[in-house]
Amino acid sequence: MGRHAARTGLQYLLVLFAAVSLNFLLPRLAPGDAIDYLLPPDQSGAVSPEQRQELLAQFGLDGSLAEQYGRYLQGLARGDLLVSVRFGRPVGDVLGERLGWTLLLVGSTLVASSLLGSWLGFRAGWSRGSARDAGSLTGVMAVDSLPPFFVGMLLLVVFSVQLRWFPTFGALPPGSAEGVDLVVEVLRRLALPFVTLTLASVGPMYLVARSAMVTELEEDYVLMAEAKGLGPAAVRRHARRNALMPVSTVAMVGLGTLVGGATVVETVFSYPGLGRLVYDSVLARDFPLLQGAFLLLITGVIVANFLNDLLYPLLDPRTRHPLTDPA
């Protein structure tokens, strides 16, 4: 067991190192650099090479790729994420401001789309081939195929502009609200982005849940359960528990995708999440910020995976049996 834990830990470290290195390299493959962004369009070619170097040095972006990589790793070891080119402030501060909003939006969406997707998916899988299954499959696929930008704009026009139920933009209310008012206002501003993102992300969850349920229903234990006279509710409970495993895996792995997928929704509703921040930082070639943001995301996904590993034995007692432990 100890050896197993050590090996898992080492694997996570290796993944983290590979990810950290890719973080460094990938943004730098795009043409142009931060200086092109910092200067007005017509002057970006007009700064002298010396001035360009001077500016790059201010953000630790001068020197060869290897030198930059060395500095980046040293900085990471010290916990120093450098200074964002676009904001001129430490990357950690900028990320900190967004993290809460992203956790709120992406976290609530993750929970909602997992619950909704698995509920619909299990029901559809249970009665596979029925009219209900066909109906829900068509419905979910139709919603899934709508571009999130379109769905967001539609919701904005209907619920904010026409019905005036929700504000049109932002995460924070204007002026100073406090206490319960603040909570209500923040929730009102969360509502439409949350619904849009949930609609956009429920599809894959539904498909996984549905197929997991279908697979489980073909297992011998279901036949056994039916044979010994268990009612449909009890059989369904058995099958559902086993079908939960792939669903929880997909939900956890989907965390990173969801943060990126939130970009469009954050743009439509002017929501200050990490997705939009990463998108803007790519345009700005804000390498320090991108490195920090990806590090945060990857850490998030790794932690989610780790939690999922811990969750497995709770969902499925077989995985905690010593015989199935590879060590």
Partner: protein, 598 residues
């Protein structure tokens, strides 16, 4: 049963949230708070920390907090602002600036001549960090030194006669507080701090990518602003910004109203559309260093084949002025009269034949004398749908004269990097590109120098098109030190050369049409070159009386199309019905199957 309770709780929560909505909305009227949607976050609004990003810069925010020595009037003498007067020496190299008495910085420190001297020194020392401002000190005019004569008088010396000092840099450069900036070695790293300016508004809150809150400066030397508080909301998506205007979540949108929304807004009694041109332009630049586009005869022929009037009608739906062949905006004081675009495809064809482009391939595309096809790609920003549309139209217009154009959309930073010459030398790897220009460039007396002087130590020539013509160079060099009358004559000659050799073809000058809610604030000023969101819109001496603002076109325009808004509403209602109907069908079906099961 448990599930029922859960559903009931959720519904109750939702109902509660919705029910609270009207109560909270009511508070927007009671104080003079104005909410304005802005395009992007610009850090803490100092000249060193603003970023320019994908879109043309807006320096309105910087000038809300800061002041310059003069305020640009575009077509007449700059108005004294922080300065009371400025007198040149005989040779125009030395300017003695007398400053306004009694001005204080936002932190209470008095403003003095020391601040002005410090600002010029600092901009020059920090040339690489000062973004678009630096070149007005380090390039043209070329600042040498300054001395403080007395606390309210400063003498600025330039390395050459600088007759246009009052407008550039005088009416452009934000003056810095010496006690704030002294000793700051890396000004780009100061964006955590609240900015200290002398301007009409003080920043009291900044939330990155979300909003600014600005409050009126009680001690402003032009009188307290007419609005107590400005809340600037960052709304990156244009459609969302205009949706917020329709609901009243914001009172004004600091963006040009897209042509397709104009009719709807003009028909809405709660919204006024006002004209406030910012003197902007959109142009097609030719790579003048790359064959065959280095041939001015080819560029001129292509220009003759482009129907800019049709571009304005089709792409801008008529909301702009057609581009001129003389580059400068018709409202610029330096624009020569009679630079209207020459559209003559027949002449284009004959001149191409004469210039040796007389062979065509099987597709009807002409061949250059060296055998290469006249098949060009136009780099356009993928964020500018109007530009992409313009290239498609120009491609149709140029096909009959045997020139093929294709749009190549790129994200802005990639586009800028393509415009740079490769390290090993040689021309940058592009054919043509489209880029916009704002007022700041068009009213700069030396715009013609900056943009089209041959690449060298001064100006942006190498970064724009690489165009080089010694005759042109001589004209714009002389213009730098010439007095106003002589400069006009020189600039006129230079523009004639541009019209003939076409390093760039202006496609259009967009109308600055802005939308606001007059119920919230109705004293917007159309400030030439600044749009309507300008600090003078909030100052008692300048802001027009309510109802007499720039929105005079409202009543006339409202009648010409009432259908746009109604059409939109109908569409929304239909869509909503479809969605609701689909949901109802699904629910009904669920119900039925559920009851079957039970």
């Amino acid at each position: 049963m448990k599930r029922r309770i859960g559903v009931a709780v959720c519904m109750a929560l939702l109902a509660g949230v919705v029910a609270l909505a009207p109560g909270i909305r009511a508070s927007s009227q009671e104080s003079t708070t104005l909410r304005i949607a802005i395009k992007g976050y610009e850090n803490n609004l100092t000249p060193f920390t603003i970023t320019f990003g994908a879109l043309p810069a807006t320096n309105d925010l910087v000038h809300l907090v800061n002041d310059s020595l003069f305020w640009s009037q575009v077509r007449s003498e700059p108005e004294p602002w922080l300065a009371e007067s400025a007198e040149p020496s005989e040779d125009g190299r030395v300017w003695t600036v007398r400053l306004r008495d009694g001005v204080v910085w936002h932190d209470g420190t008095p403003f003095t001549a020391e601040d002005v001297k410090f600002s010029f020194d600092y901009y020059e020392a920090q040339a690489s960090s000062a973004g678009r401002y630096a070149h007005h000190v380090s390039d043209i005019p070329d600042y040498a030194s300054s001395e403080v004569v007395d606390p309210l008088t400063v003498r600025l010396t330039f390395n050459e006669p600088s007759p246009q000092f009052k407008s550039m840099p005088g009416a452009d450069l934000p003056i810095l507080a010496k006690h704030v900036w002294e000793g700051v070695e890396d000004p780009k790293s100061t964006s955590d701090r609240m900015p200290v300016g002398t301007g009409p508004f003080k920043v009291t809150e900044m939330v990155a990518d979300q909003r600014y809150v600005l409050e009126a400066n009680d001690d402003y030397f032009k009188g307290r602003p007419l609005v107590d508080r400005l809340e600037l909301a960052v709304i990156p998506e244009p459609a969302a910004a205009f949706a917020a205007l329709r609901t009243g979540d914001v009172d004004m949108v600091e963006r040009i109203v897209p042509p397709e929304l104009l009719d709807q807004f003009r028909a809405d009694p709660a919204i006024t559309v006002a004209e406030g041109t910012r003197i902007e332009s959109n142009q097609l630049y030719f790579n003048a260093r790359k064959a065959p586009l280095d041939d001015p005869r080819l560029r001129k022929a292509m220009s003759l084949g482009i129907d800019v009037g049709a571009l304005v009608d089709t792409v801008l739906l008529g909301n702009g002025r057609p581009g001129r062949d003389t580059f400068l905006h018709p409202d610029s004081p330096w624009a020569v009269s009679g630079g209207e675009h020459d559209f003559d495809p027949e002449r284009a064809n004959t001149s191409l034949d004469e210039a040796g482009y007389d062979q065509r391939d099987g597709d009807g595309v002409r061949l250059a004398p060296d055998g290469s096809r006249l098949d060009f790609s136009v780099l356009v920003s993928s964020f500018e749908p109007l530009d992409i549309r313009a290239v498609q139209l120009m491609a149709e217009q140029l096909a009959p004269i045997g020139v093929k154009l294709t749009a190549e959309p790129l994200e802005p930073t990639a586009l800028r990097s393509r415009r740079q010459a490769p390290e090993g030398g040689g021309p940058p790897p592009y054919d043509l590109y489209i880029s916009g220009l704002e007022a700041h460039a068009h009213v700069d007396p030396d715009a013609l120098y900056y943009f089209f002087h041959s690449p060298g130590s001064r100006g942006f020539g190498g970064a724009i098109t690489g165009y080089a013509n010694p005759d042109y160079d001589a004209l714009v060099e002389r213009a730098v030190t010439a007095d106003t009358a002589e400069r006009k004559a020189l600039d006129a000659q230079a523009q004639t050369i541009l019209a003939e050799e076409v390093p760039a073809q202006v496609l259009w000058y967009p109308d600055g049409l802005y939308a606001y809610r007059p119920g919230a604030y109705d004293r917007w000023l159309s400030d030439l070159g600044q749009g309507i969101f300008t600090k003078r819109s909030f100052l008692t001496d300048y802001a027009p009386q309510p109802g007499r603002g720039p929105g005079g076109e409202q009543a006339a325009a409202a009648s010409d199309d009432g259908g746009g808004g109604a059409g939109g509403t109908v569409l929304v209602v239909v869509l909503a019905l479809v969605v609701v109907g689909a949901l109802a069908a699904v629910v009904a079906r669920r119900r039925r199957t559920a009851s079957d099961e039970a």
